[in-house]
């Protein structure tokens, strides 16, 4: 079948010693950022972007995506051993992972986490392999109104379907759009929102927002409890791995459910974090050992890990085929594509077959490589976390500052990063979601262009968004989802009994 041939072609592009070395480096860096607070996946990928400028796009995306897998795995390590989630998406892993560690079963918990993660990720990649071609072909017929409709749907679902309060989601999103609007307007060439600051002439790069919000903000949150890493003893021998693997098949139903939840939330703007929480609560409700969740139940590790990784991988599907990222890290990668001069979306599949199928092929290899490396290097990373916080914290801040400076060689950006950092702290504490901000910052210009192009076609009529079935459905669905919270409120008032 066609996809299989393309996949084999991709494998051919990918299999070289250079690429395998990049995979290993990417995974190691990824585990490192996954394990350290303040250097999560979105931030880590952002920090590597300047380095990729001189590389071939295929090599660059292999490095970045492997870092992504590594970070997802790495976040689980600290969740289990230290009860400190390295990634927001590993929070749910602490619920049962850490109790298992305290019972001396850390090795089992880790082996379970990684294996579930790998299986979840592989399903996500399979999804991408087989569906991307169809979606891309379908999207070829898209024109500006359809693209804008898709954006409306994406942003609308963030407002309507995530648990965060709608007003805060809207505010967060608007900040992202505002960031995107600063600088030169693509259509008229005017300078917008620069207020005479020369530093703002080139606009505000989304990377600065990511590093500030996710990096500095996270450090500030972590510091609140006066962080000292006290980890449980971990023994991870091949024997433990084997014993754990023997136990896992009996949880096939949990695994299936979690994969479904994960893929769904990856493709729609839910993201790995939401997926892991949802999967955990569903597993808890449907499991026979539901009451044991939270006390060290293997199922309680399988559910969030599988969902988290399958969401993380399937978030790349809409990113590649439609140019709509399903998670913050996917948004950063999208930004990377644009910087390398690639246009994600249907044209990518047509014009850059080597790149796309090389990437997809590398996802299989990358995940397997990640599993091997992470199993082998846990003691190393656990040791890194024993470096005193008073040394590691400033180093992380310095790395973030270097990353912010490197984007545009501008110290102003470093100061801006700090402002974002402060807001990142406030936002995390107050429950403002950050992913929509990043999405809006990355997609803002494109969304606006799509809107203005559509307006040019229609001569100013908004009706163009309902001019055909597809655009109309997408636009209506998007607007409907954006209004869901409002409708929900109205219903609550009418039926006070049903709360």
């Amino acid at each position: 079948m066609e996809q299989f041939d393309l996949l084999m072609h991709g494998m051919g592009v990918v299999l070289s010693w250079y690429h395998i070395m990049l995979m290993v480096v990417g995974v190691l860096l990824g585990i490192l950022v996954g394990v350290l607070p303040g250097l999560g996946a979105p931030n880590g990928v952002t920090l590597l972007l300047p380095i990729t400028f001189s590389m071939e796009p295929v090599s660059a995306i292999i490095l970045l995506s492997c870092m992504y897998w590594g970070a997802l795995f790495g976040g689980s390590v600290t969740s289990v051993i230290f009860n400190i989630p390295g990634e927001p998406s590993s929070v749910a892993t602490t619920f049962d992972g850490y109790p298992l560690a305290r019972q001396g079963r850390a090795g089992e918990a880790l082996a379970t986490a990684f294996t579930s993660a790998l299986l979840g990720a592989l399903v996500g990649v399979l999804l991408i392999t087989f569906l991307s071609g169809y979606i891309a072909k379908f999207a070829l017929s898209f024109s500006s109104p359809e693209f804008f409709a898709v954006y409306v749907l994406a942003f609308g679902s963030f407002i309507g379907l995530t648990k965060t309060p709608a007003l805060k989601t809207v505010a967060s999103m608007m900040i992202g759009f505002a960031i995107a609007a600063v600088g030169m307007d693509t259509v008229s060439g005017n300078l917008r929102l620069t207020f005479g600051f020369t530093e703002l002439l080139r606009g505000i790069s989304f990377e600065i927002a990511v590093i500030g919000l996710f990096g500095i903000g996270e450090i500030l949150c972590t510091v609140e409890e006066g962080l000292v890493f006290k980890g449980e003893q971990t023994r991870l021998t091949p024997r433990i791995i084997w014993e754990t693997w023997k136990k896992l098949p009996r949880y096939w139903a949990t695994w299936l459910r979690s994969v479904a939840i994960g893929c769904w939330m990856g493709i729609t703007p839910g993201g790995p974090t939401a997926a892991s929480f949802l999967s955990y609560s569903v597993a808890k409700r449907t499991s026979k050992n539901g009451d044991n969740f939270g006390k060290g139940e293997l199922e309680g590790v399988i559910a969030p890990e599988t969902a988290d990784h399958s969401a993380g991988t399937s978030a790349l599907l809409p990113m590649l085929t439609l140019g709509i990222p399903g998670s913050a890290t996917a948004a950063v990668m999208l930004g990377g594509f644009m910087i390398w001069g690639l246009q994600p979306g249907p044209t990518l599949f047509l014009e850059q077959k080597d790149f796309v199928w090389g990437l997809i092929a590398s996802m299989y290899l990358g995940n397997v490589v990640s599993l091997i490396i992470v199993l082998a290097t846990i003691p190393l990373f656990a040791a890194i976390l024993r470096i005193p916080f008073s040394i590691i914290a400033p180093i992380i801040v310095i790395i973030c500052s270097i990353g912010a400076y490197a984007v545009n060689q501008s110290l102003f950006d470093v100061a801006l990063m700090l402002v974002f950092g402060l807001y990142g702290y406030l936002f995390k504490k107050l429950g403002y979601p950050i992913a929509p901000l990043i999405l809006a910052a990355v997609l803002g210009d494109k969304a606006e262009d799509a809107f203005r192009q559509s307006m040019l076609f229609s001569g100013g009529s908004l009706g163009i968004f309902w001019s055909n079935g597809l655009a109309g459905t997408l636009t209506t669905a998007g607007l409907a989802m954006a209004c869901l919270p409002l409708i929900g409120r109205l219903f609550k008032r009418r039926t006070p009994a049903a709360v």
């Binding site: 300047p50 380095i51 001189s54 309060p165 007003l167 805060k168 809207v170 505010a171 608007m174 900040i175 759009f177 505002a178 609007a181 307007d185 259509v187 008229s188 005017n190 917008r192 929102l193 207020f195 500095i216 500030l220 510091v223 609140e224 409890e225 006066g226 000292v228 005193p388 916080f389 008073s390 040394i391 914290a393 400033p394 180093i395 801040v397 310095i398 500052s401 270097i402 400076y405 490197a406 060689q409 110290l411 470093v414 100061a415 700090l418 950092g421 402060l422 702290y425 406030l426 936002f427 504490k429 107050l430 429950g431 403002y432 606006e448 809107f451 203005r452 307006m455 040019l456 100013g460």
Partner: protein
């Protein structure tokens, strides 16, 4: 987020409602700034479709309105917001990290990134060591000088991402 009940609040911390109002207020101001900036560009339509200020204007408006809504919610649930966003102890720890970071960034234009980094690490190791540890001067010097040097080799030389050296730029033309 802190799980304290609404009525208990240690003094000196930052309450949910204060923090929330500050954030919402600053976002309303931000929204206003965006709206004013857009007005300069024209927020109507011309032959080429929406003018440059059209989109940003509504963005600013939505930002201001949604933040106003959040602020009103806080005011409406005034009592519930009395719980701590950060306790005094937590706030102390956060500021103990935030202020040095601000100084670090402020020093950069004058001293360059390498020197600021060295001073920054040295400060942390000297003042923020946990569990009452004290690092020897030798150790502090070793790490605070070692890290910027490592950064130079990793970033400027290997990755070819030059870092801002400020007045010391001449030293680095090796």
């Amino acid at each position: 987020m802190s799980k304290e009940t609404a009525t208990e609040r240690q003094s000196g911390g930052l309450s949910l409602r204060a923090g929330g109002l500050f954030t919402s207020a600053s976002l309303i101001v931000l929204g206003g700034i965006v709206m004013i900036g857009s007005l300069e560009q024209g927020t109507g339509w011309d032959d080429a479709g929406p003018q440059a200020g059209y989109f940003p204007f509504y963005i600013g408006l939505l930002l201001a309105l949604s933040s106003l809504g959040t602020a009103l919610n806080i005011l409406r649930n005034w009592r519930k917001g009395a719980a701590d966003l950060t306790t005094r102890a937590q706030l102390g720890r956060v500021l103990a990290v935030l202020i040095p970071i601000c100084v670090f960034v402020a020093l950069m234009p004058a001293a360059g990134m390498y020197v600021s980094s060295a001073l920054f690490i040295a400060w942390f190791m000297w003042r923020m060591a946990e569990d009452g540890r004290r690092y020897s001067l030798k150790k502090i010097l070793a790490v605070s000088i070692g890290v910027p040097i490592a950064a130079y080799f990793i970033f400027t030389v290997w990755f070819e991402v030059p870092l801002y050296a400020g007045p010391f730029a001449g030293w680095l033309t090796l």
